[in-house]
Symmetry: C2
Subunit: 313 residues, 2 copies
Amino acid sequence: MAFDRLIERIAEMQNPTVAGLDPKLEYVPESIRSKAFSQYGRTLDGAASAILEFNRKIIDALCDIVPAVKPQCAYYEMYGWQGMKALHDTVAYAKSKGMFVITDGKRNDIGSTMAAYAAAHLGETDVCGKKFSAFGADALTVNGYLGSDGIQPLLDVCREQNKGIFVLVKTSNPSSDELQDQAFEGGELLYEAMGRFCEEWGASLPGKYGYSGVGAVVGATFPAQLAELRNSMAHAFFLVPGYGTQGGSAESVAPAFGKNGCGAVVNASRSILCAWKAQNDSQENFAECARREAISMRDSIIKQVGKISLEKV
Amino acid sequence: MAFDRLIERIAEMQNPTVAGLDPKLEYVPESIRSKAFSQYGRTLDGAASAILEFNRKIIDALCDIVPAVKPQCAYYEMYGWQGMKALHDTVAYAKSKGMFVITDGKRNDIGSTMAAYAAAHLGETDVCGKKFSAFGADALTVNGYLGSDGIQPLLDVCREQNKGIFVLVKTSNPSSDELQDQAFEGGELLYEAMGRFCEEWGASLPGKYGYSGVGAVVGATFPAQLAELRNSMAHAFFLVPGYGTQGGSAESVAPAFGKNGCGAVVNASRSILCAWKAQNDSQENFAECARREAISMRDSIIKQVGKISLEKV
């Protein structure tokens, strides 16, 4: 299964983190922007070219120490189809450097429409008998509000293509309690019910380290829920957003990990991409600063979770 | 507000329907496909060119009698950035023909990430001071599982740009009951809670016909829930999927409409795009067949709901 490869990379690098590639144009230093604008003009093409070059430098700086990247679709889509081309090229570049790629699209729909999203991001698109990988990620974040009809088409593609999904369970934002923390009759909370469904959906995609192809997004900002869900979702690998700028710390993400230091990958985006600010360095040195911050994040988390082993949970 | 313009077009045409542009390549007749493939090869570019040409012919056939189109993102995304360019060009073409465009993306995220989706589909993208409309729809479907943090950034763009959103409330698929129909302590169902939030979110975006800028997606396949939500969500304009191939009929969508025949727009995709099949006609005549089916759908629904007036509810 897809998460076996992620888990192996995490253990090899002793680093359970993922770098979020949310490349706002203001994060891109002047030198890269002006080069792109001189070639393509101050246009969507120019912006897309600049963020792709920024991403390449981040990937170059991190690929030997960070196992995975997580491009956030919204920051590519906002630059139109030109931005989506930059997403494609970013995924391809990260994979060429050996990185595991999680596309953060939070996609959701049903039946053949969900199958189209699955083909787009994880599988292959058939053009009258010829197959193409449209975006080509290793895993995709999805939203399960529509129930099993929206997840089943993904499971088929995950099985065939050795890919994985992360279902939104308990998100990191303050208002996630408005719906997710509400109790159903009988006492189960909505996010707990979503977690229970994830375990059911994942049962058909077992992995060799005990984690299925159906993971869960659980925010770093709610350590108590992380601990509870770690217990109730024994087979779900966790994608943990909210570290760094959103307030999550190494201590607050520790409950996401199992006894062998495995079971989760922690995302940081802005604190990595804009590390030059916290380090009082020049924006032009963003890549070296990002690497320093990635090392510091890795060391802080490993200090909390201990050595990561590949023992089956 | 954005839905005022949709409502005015619906009343003018006496047609509360929207044509779903879900252009699977198998729906596109051989003549269009072979022309595109001879120009671009059997590639993602070729597929994207074919679906764009197909969409143009559907839009030409419908634009004087159908007020709106609803392109489904997944069927463009599956053809990569080339497909996303076809989405952009489809939206632009439909708007040039005066149609109201609802992009069905079911997007969801929080804060500045949701703001990026809002910019992509409804607002403008800033490239160092120059503004671009990346995809340029009039309305976007969204998923509210993340709570108010995921909706607020959209409301700001809707207010500034005169656009609207449709929040998934009760979807048309069989498994929508797994989560959406579950009762919270106190008895409110999840979809009812989502509906209540929609009314709250919409309060800041009032429209001149009584409907706010925050609409709701409610499936045609559940008439009892349609009737109940029509009562509890007085200010939400409804987007009703599931008509035709999914099993919804003119009778089953009737409860979505208020006393003046207003309050909802009913979507049909496959039954329009593939009308040539039901009409035992040639695939090459897909556009005329689509027009005949659109007229028949309009007449069936109008027979149920009566004359549509612009009286405020």
